[in-house]
Symmetry: none
Subunit: 228 residues, 2 copies
């Protein structure tokens, strides 16, 4: 599944330019020019990254940023602030508020792409192009291959997607609903308990007797994949 980016920008032309560039890079793009709506869109379906203009309607960008950071569900989404205000004070304020990067207009679209990519590389390790490997577990998204300690493992399609979903989001507790949304798709009406069953199948597939189970059950919350 492609990484998704939400563009929050009320300058129509710029918004389209960004969306076009991002799409060309293979991102799923959604956009809005309205701060209030942006918050709703994020809550409805959290993107992997957000490009956020400082000067937008309804709610100023920095306030959107603050709101997003306050809510634990959205607190870790990378945010690039975008602005015409080049003043040092503003940049520092933006960064202190929780933005991960701060780009001033005019900017180079290609540089912005590179910055987005750098951010995603950090928050979603798979996007760096490298294989995902944590400890002795390796997952190659391209060839659909999984290994543990060099030994090839056999995973079904769903187990593979599930494992990738976890490896792209290590050290985070993921609720069953999040897992369903991410692995099965937003519009699936599948029982939450089905996740349990697939977790069991995944565990069975990747754990040899005596090896540590990398998937941790977090009671009343979901599952998490532990790294290191």
């Amino acid at each position: 599944m492609n990484p998704s980016v939400l563009v929050v920008e009320d300058d129509r032309a710029l918004c389209d330019l960004l969306s076009w560039n991002l799409s060309a890079e293979g991102y799923d793009v959604r956009s809005t020019g309205d701060g209030e709506e942006a918050l709703l869109m994020v809550r409805e379906q959290a993107p992997d990254a957000i490009i956020l203009d400082w000067m937008i309607e309804q709610v100023p960008g920095i306030e959107v940023c603050r709101q997003l950071r306050k809510d634990r569900e959205t607190a870790r989404i990378p945010i690039v602030m975008l602005t015409a205000r080049g003043e040092e004070e503003d940049r520092i304020r933006g960064l202190k508020t929780g933005a991960d990067d701060y780009v001033t207009k005019p900017f180079s679209p290609r540089e912005l792409m590179a910055r987005i990519e750098a951010l995603l590389r950090r928050s979603r390790p798979s996007i760096g192009g490298d294989n995902l490997n944590f400890g002795d577990l390796e997952l190659d998204p391209a060839s659909h291959r999984v290994r543990r300690g060099g030994e090839a493992l056999h995973l079904g399609p769903t187990e593979f997607r599930l494992l990738r979903y976890f490896m792209e989001r290590p050290n985070r507790v993921l609720s069953r609903q999040q897992i369903l949304d991410g692995v099965w798709g937003m519009d699936s009406d599948i029982d939450e308990r089905t996740v349990d069953v697939h977790i069991r199948r995944l565990r069975k597939a990747i754990n040899r007797p005596g090896e540590k189970d990398p998937i941790r059950t977090v009671r009343a919350a979901g599952y998490a994949m532990d790294v290191s």
Copy 2:
């Protein structure tokens, strides 16, 4: 422990300026003007972040960056590239090589500080506002993990919420009713004394024999978590 930063910069004056600023912000700073030496220093003791000048002796900055990214041990250390070269191509190349941020000279030291902070916030949650830690007690809301003195602790769901509630409000006496409202929800009709029981369970979970109990009972008022 303070976060540590390695400054790789061969302009002596700039290097000192950065070191001074970083120290003032509470970082442990080491520095060198030599790329080869930088690699050795990182391998000897990995810093939490690196400020890396593009134009340094022996090995160009971008090559240092590449080397660091190649080694699993050092691949995830945040790197800020620092350079006089303002060309878009260079910036993009730097970012694609694995740098997390790219700042061109002349730059504002305060902004650079803010960018470093933003990076650390992401890579070492314990430094940013995300993670709660007091003394030897760490609580990571994202991964639902609690540690004391590095050792992982097991807490039940309610104990976890209770501890987080306390850590979010350190040094304050909290009444049983406040705790019920905050941890159980406003509309719970639970006996106030139940709080006592969960406090006991929490204490049992986080205190090893011989360790100081961070939870203080305030007679006739409630409980407080002491940060010393």
